[in-house]
């Protein structure tokens, strides 16, 4: 691979891509993270999960966060959602500091978090109901969100009657029904099989394109990150620090055919280059006994 692609070639953007990024950066910043720290107290002293993390997400941007396991991706998104407190630093939503969870930041979890006792429609109506909205208008709006994720036939089904992919689509509709400023997604397709995941990625891009919504998406899948994002935030592990923010040079609209385009491969290769040293060091340290007959080599 090293001989085929220069890992720095992802920086070469076409004019169309460059102007897209310029336009994006003209838009207001929706989410701004300033010098965020997170330390966990443990019996052996405190562990730093996040160290001085700062970045901005522009309006209608699709940003992925990727990093080796243990880099604090999930901690980061939980702090942004308000489910955990940071040790230091600030999270600003539209310039205002946030604390605690709220309907302005929708979240889709990796585990299925639909309320099993509510039908699909009732699940989608949960947020508006909590806000005190009632009546046929709420129901009609919920139907629209369900239509948007293509599940109108199932609006009265219970979650246990749905497949994993359908559940996550409902979870997206449920989060969107609150009209959040930003949608936080914590490896939402991690538990799905490869084909469904691919389908879901295309769905998500459709939704993102048609709505005024900003998305912050956590993943450990290089393809997913490169396929979905405008920019990719790559974290370092132990402690979690910003390694690099990659501007993906793959033009939009994205299609699965681009998986083999040079820009796509260059982006993937760059992420791999940033993450790999840490993973490779681990595998290389495992001693490997030889168990085959000498001379019977496959390589």
């Amino acid at each position: 691979m090293q001989t085929l692609v220069d890992h720095l070639s992802y920086r070469e953007q076409s004019d169309a891509v460059r102007s897209r990024f310029e336009a994006m950066k003209q838009r207001p910043v929706v989410l701004s993270v300033r010098n965020l720290y997170k330390t966990f107290p443990t019996p052996g002293g405190s562990v730093t999960a996040l160290k001085d993390v700062s970045f901005d997400v522009y309006r209608r941007e699709f940003m992925c966060v990727i990093g080796p396991s243990g880099c604090g991706k999930s901690t980061l998104i939980r702090i942004l959602a308000g489910l955990e407190d940071s040790s230091a630093g600030q999270v600003l939503l539209d310039g205002n500091p946030v604390s605690g969870p709220g309907p302005d930041r929708g979240m889709v979890f990796q585990s299925y978090t639909l309320f099993p006792w509510l039908t699909v429609k009732q699940n989608v109506m949960f947020g508006p109901r909590m806000a005190g909205q009632k009546g046929a208008a709420v129901e009609g709006e919920a139907r629209q969100w369900i239509d948007l994720v293509g599940l109108s036939r199932f609006e009265n089904s219970y979650p246990h009657q749905l497949s994993g992919g359908m559940k996550q689509r409902v979870a997206i509709a449920r989060a969107l029904a609150n009209r959040p400023r930003i949608l936080l997604m914590d490896e939402p397709f991690g538990a799905l099989d490869a084909q469904t995941r691919c389908q879901m990625q295309s769905y998500l891009l459709q939704i993102w394109k048609n709505l005024d919504i900003t998305i912050l998406f956590i993943t450990h899948d290089l393809d997913e990150a490169a396929y979905l994002s405008d920019r990719i935030l790559v974290l370092k592990a132990n402690p979690g620090e910003v390694n690099e923010i990659i501007e993906v040079p793959v033009p939009r609209p994205r299609t699965p055919a681009q998986f083999v385009s040079p820009e796509f491969i260059a982006t993937k290769y760059r992420i791999d280059h940033l993450i790999h040293p840490e993973t490779a060091a681990e595998t290389d340290s495992i001693p490997f006994p030889r168990m085959t007959v000498a001379g019977d080599d496959v390589e």
Partner: protein, 476 residues
């Protein structure tokens, strides 16, 4: 063209395959067997004479001189002692035979009055046999004239008992006795009764189980008799007793649930309540509820209040801990998801915790209701004995175990069917649980038949609604 190659292979399902489901037919069969087998064992032990039967049930008994233990017909003794018992009566007869053969019917023997009294007893020893043969009714067991007449018929061979027969030995004794008795008087007259000692009938019996294991038919017959008996002044009818027992169990249980469920839910939701309440509850539940019985009587006085209180005390502490644990088992991501959707603290409790735990809470209460039943017996012994327990206690003391078993079985049936009915309804109450989609067991299916029939009948009249009638899975 259909190929032979794709012909279906005959399926041979193994009976023993770890965690593999049995076919519905086999499952139903085994469910049936699980009830049939114990009944079969009980019947076998009761009706097959070569199985167990360690005792003899006396059909004809006798008194022995200088022995204070009196056996009457219907009593049981061990098979080892029975021949000894017979032999001692034979020896006793042998000593009397000569005097009886050569007495003067006209003369009054010395100490005639006491001998006459003893003879009347011997006369009546035949009564149980006459009753079981249907010659006399139970009320006539002390009617000496009829029994006297029966001795004559048996001795002359005019009419012989068949259920059971009289042994040859006893027929001979009857003949000897009758020839002596009839010399004094051919019919019964209390002043003209033989004053020389008569021979005793040699005890007869049949092999039997101890009285604590009555046969199924005896239990059924006694059960029907007990349960159809009308109430008397001081004795409530069995159904009144059942009602009383159910009131105690459900009263105590519902009170405990009313108080315990909210506390348990709060403990499971807010660590403040958990730390404040659970440690003491955990300690208190180790104090056995029955130890509070005298205290409860002192507080609540007589009648049912202390009984209900005992069931309450026995149930509530378990209930709080079980409910709080169930509440804690609710998946945290659901609460987090609700928070990111804008739910406030109080809404979390009312809109997530409570609906989320309901199916498990319902199951917990089912199990705890079973617990409450176990307190019933002790509760009914507290203060004035009452209800089914009082009946069991009294009948057990009289060794009327054929009256005791129906009650024990009935309590079991009430508990079992309440549980099965509640379990069946859980599918109706909580259609969103995965179990609601699974196949219910045959008992639940039988119970659910009625409500389902109504539902289906209603559904035929209401326009077809696809969302309730079809279950859809899989990706659209």
């Amino acid at each position: 063209m259909k190929s032979d190659l794709i012909r279906e292979k005959p399926q041979r399902e193994p009976w023993f395959a770890a965690r593999r489901d049995l076919s519905p037919r086999r499952a139903s069969l085994l469910t049936l067997l699980s009830f049939a087998l114990p009944l079969l064992v009980w019947s076998a032990v009761s009706y097959l004479p070569f199985l167990w039967h360690p005792d003899m049930e006396l059909q004809i008994s006798a008194d022995r001189e200088n022995v204070t233990t009196v056996y009457v017909a219907g009593d049981r003794m061990s098979q080892d002692f029975f021949p000894e018992f017979q032999e001692s009566v034979r020896q006793q007869n042998k000593a009397l035979e000569a005097a009886l053969a050569s007495f003067d019917p006209a003369a009054e023997a010395p100490n005639g009055a006491s001998v006459r009294r003893a003879n009347k007893k011997i006369l009546r020893h035949l009564a149980p046999l006459l009753i079981s043969n249907g010659w006399i009714t139970e009320k006539q067991a002390k009617d000496d004239a009829i029994i006297y007449d029966a001795w004559g018929r048996i001795a002359t061979g005019a009419k012989l008992p068949t259920r059971p027969r009289l042994s040859d030995e006893n027929l001979a004794i009857a003949a000897i006795n009758w020839s002596a008795m009839s010399k004094v008087s051919p019919t019964y007259a209390s002043d003209r009764f033989i004053s020389v000692p008569l021979l005793s009938l040699v005890p007869q019996g049949r092999s039997a189980n101890p009285d604590y294991l009555p046969a199924p038919h005896e239990v059924v017959i006694t059960g029907i008799k007990d349960f159809t008996a009308p109430p008397e002044a001081e004795r409530p009818s069995m159904w009144q007793r059942v009602g009383h027992s159910i009131r105690i169990v459900f009263g105590g249980f519902l009170l405990a649930a009313l108080v315990g469920v909210p506390i348990g839910v709060l403990c499971g939701t807010y660590p403040v309540f958990s730390k404040l309440i659970e440690p003491f509850t955990d300690f208190f539940r180790y104090m056995p509820a029955p130890t509070f019985s005298t205290l409860l009587v002192a507080i609540f006085l007589a009648n049912d209040a202390p009984k209900v209180a005992l069931v309450f005390v026995g149930t509530i502490f378990q209930l709080i801990l079980v409910v709080s644990n169930t509440t804690r088992r609710l998946e945290m991501p659901l609460l987090e998801a609700a928070q990111t959707l804008g739910a406030k603290q109080r809404q979390l409790l009312t809109h997530v915790v409570i609906p989320g735990i309901l199916p498990n809470l319902y199951n917990d209460l089912r199990i705890l209701l079973g617990w409450a039943w176990t307190w019933l017996v002790i509760a009914e012994l507290v203060g004035v004995k009452s209800g089914l327990t009082e009946f069991i206690e009294t009948q057990g003391r009289w060794r009327n175990f054929d009256s005791v078993y129906p009650v024990i079985i009935l309590i079991g049936l009430i508990g079992f069917f309440t549980d099965q009915i509640l379990s069946a309804f859980s599918r109706i109450f909580f259609p969103w649980t995965a179990e609601a989609g699974g196949k219910p067991n045959p008992i639940v299916r039988a119970i659910l038949f009625i409500p389902r029939w109504f539902r289906d009948a209603a559904a035929e009249r209401i326009p077809y609604r696809p969302e309730t009638r079809t279950r859809q899975t899989g990706e659209a």
